[in-house]
Subunit: 413 residues, 2 copies
DNA sequence: GTGATTTTGTTTCGGACTAGAACATAATGC
DNA sequence: GCATTATGTTCTAGTCCGAAACAAAATCAC
């Protein structure tokens, strides 16, 4: 909850220098966040009294805080539904529908933009399929910037854009915002902000992030501030390669430099085939989309659904491809589960489409290889198959900034 | 001696539904924690003015908070060293030396108890070597209880025991405090608290935890509240088997059920030898102590140092054992590093003793198999080889409770 | 219908706590 | 000895929360 102080022994006469954010002297910001989060988390729009009960505050305090959030647009007073109960009817509160964020995504197969509001609803979106493998970053990002500008132009008057994010299928350096390497796109050392920001209004600066991390966030929270079905899980994003992310305590673990989640290069068999990453026997060589299709004897562009159909229909090559992928996933994921003690694996991308076929064998492998399985068997699930989940996750991350510190957003505008 | 029982936090008037944490009405508890943590973190004992500068509070506020902590014994005013600088001499503050915690450890090779104070100094300790493999839990824990009672009896008058912990080499269920399985001891389904607490004074109830998790804590924080050299690392504890722990953002990740860190059963080669866990090709089969010694052609009880000497001396079997272990560690750790993006691996136990020999090959393997290695090469280090690190970690964890919420400890004498 | 009941939301007051400024204290430097 | 400087303390004003009283708006009982 609290800011950790910079422990510079050098005494500073003037107020804290840049870098050390002023420490809130009052409990207000934290309590505003608590109220907003409570409303975001609640199943149905809660009244001020509900908020008070849920947080342990008095009704007076909860109401005062809620009033401020309503005045600032971060909460809305919504239409009361006749409850039939006795007593003065409540005024239900919902997260502000005029506060939105922009999520963008550039992937090997599409450009996408999506605007989400604080309630997690899609305000507007645009998905442009297209083969971007080997594309030139500058014009591609320019197109994405125009797409984003269009989306923002469509927003109704009075809408506040709290932030923006950009999901990219590669390694993003969190500190500098540089996309170091995106193998599927063929991009290296790109600073998307430089190419995007000029096309966007009002100094909006999309924060780049790894697509799998952001897609995992859509599972970790179903709407801003609202926890999803699992607090701890491993997310696997099956693309041409295999990315992933680990969610612990509801937080996406991005690693100390934001490079976490390279599940595709966990070693399944040290004597296995060489991988383009320089290692051998990487998971990607067994369960990556191209690898699975090749084993099944299908051309590279085949849709995963077609593979699933053949395997379900008894095609031996397709069946072998799925079984091989399940075995490799079992070996790689068991290692992760042994290390992190996470009870759930969520499969996205092409792995999500194959989840029904993969699950039995995969759960069997995990049951055998995960040490704690005799006390709690790991479960395998398919991610909800929404297109361009990375864009949604990017918007959710921007909105999380609002939910985590609403006080910052009350002063402005 | 005065033992303070573990008190529950002030109960909230309205018992809020589970999921909502008790919310302090005032900023006081957080600010007390901030001041205490600042003193714990500081290199040299800081003055009240230093604390104010470091935290951004005014001197008045910092002094008031510090005064309360001093009055409560959580801070000490220590002897001023003549600074030679102009101005009124400062009164340096240090964490309270009369607040201590007890750390216990039961391992295959020893029983140990250690009392640490808030400054992280060892107040007293006792280590009793002995072969506990296949021992009966009840008398063994009774011995440990007596050992602990002796240690507590030696403490000077006025010492407050803030808590206790117990490091165990196995899977501990965090919710119930049950040791589910400790293969090296041969124990299953033991509740250490039942056997220990009756021998301890004043309702002191040692919290059990996994030994590797607690040993990792000694690397993560060098003293209560003082971060160690690395914020993010993987700790490997080489015992008869191989345990481990992951530290992210300075926090030891215990997993959603406290079963994390079973690095020994990460799969290195799915076609490898069967492991007693039911899986195949587990890391333990290549780099566990017995496995390494067997490969080197040495009897089971041989000290790792002897193996290291032979390998350094050119003994081919010893050399092969070390190289095999390095390769297996490289495969397994590369997976973990790819998933978590952690820059450092710390080797403890027998792996720590072999660290000098393992490092070159291991770092080479990691450099090849870790995807982000071309931007930042993973480093391998040996853990400081203190005996019974788990006991130290158990005490540190108990003391961390004090540092994290000092207000709870100020009310009671 | 009318009044009692019940629940929500608001107002008022007192108390806890912090920031800021002035003040007291104790050293060094000239 | 006196100015200078840094630390620590005291005092006051202001913020914010909790508690309790109050106002508002519905249902229930008759």
């Amino acid at each position: 909850m609290h800011v950790t102080a910079n422990l510079n022994p050098v005494s500073v006469p003037a107020p804290s220098p840049e870098g050390t954010r002023a420490r809130p002297a009052t409990p207000r910001p934290a309590n505003l966040a608590l109220v907003l989060r409570t409303v975001c988390t609640a199943g149905a729009p809660p009244s001020r009294a509900d908020v008070a009960a849920a947080t342990g505050m008095t009704r007076a305090t909860a109401a005062r805080l809620a009033d401020d959030l309503v005045a600032g647009g971060l909460l809305d007073e919504v239409e009361a539904t006749p409850s039939g109960r006795r007593g003065r009817p409540a005024t239900p509160l919902a997260p502000g529908s005029r506060v939105v964020a922009l999520g963008l995504q550039a992937d090997a197969g599409l450009l996408a933009g999506r605007v989400l509001d604080l309630r997690g609803r899609v305000v507007s979106e645009r998905v442009e399929p297209g083969d971007l493998r080997g594309s030139d970053p500058a014009p591609t990002l320019a197109r994405l910037g125009d797409l984003a500008a269009d989306l923002l132009g469509e927003l109704p008057d009075g809408t506040r854009v709290a932030g923006a994010g950009l999901a990219l299928p590669g390694i993003v350096d969190g500190a500098t915002g540089v996309l170091l390497r995106a193998p599927n796109l063929g991009w290296s050392d790109v600073r998307p902000a430089d190419l995007l920001a000029p096309r966007l209004p009002g100094g909006l600066d999309p924060v780049p992030g790894n697509e799998a991390d952001l897609a995992a966030r859509t599972v970790a929270e179903t709407a801003p501030g609202r926890p999803g079905p699992h607090r701890d899980f491993v997310y696997l994003s099956g693309q041409i390669g295999i990315g992933g992310a680990t969610v612990l305590d509801g937080r996406v673990m991005c690693g100390s430099s934001g490079w976490a989640g390279e599940m595709g290069h966990v070693c399944v068999d040290p004597d296995g085939p060489a991988c383009r990453c320089g290692s051998t026997g990487c998971l990607e060589q067994y369960a990556g989309r191209d690898a699975v299709l090749a084993t099944a004897g299908l051309p590279r562009g085949t849709a995963p659904g077609e593979l699933a159909r053949r395997a379900a229909g008894g095609d031996p090559a397709a069946r072998a491809a799925v079984d091989g992928a399940a075995r490799a996933l079992g070996v790689a994921l068991a290692g992760v589960l042994n290390v992190l003690d996470v009870p759930v694996v969520v499969l996205g991308g092409h792995l999500g489409e194959l989840a029904g076929l993969l699950r039995p064998a995969l759960e069997e492998h995990l049951g055998r290889r995960v040490l704690s399985a005799r006390w709690r068997r790991p479960r395998v699930e398919a991610a909800p198959g929404a297109p361009a989940a990375g864009a949604t996750g990017a918007a959710l991350r921007a909105l999380a900034d609002v939910v985590d510190d609403p006080a910052r957003w009350l002063g402005t505008h």
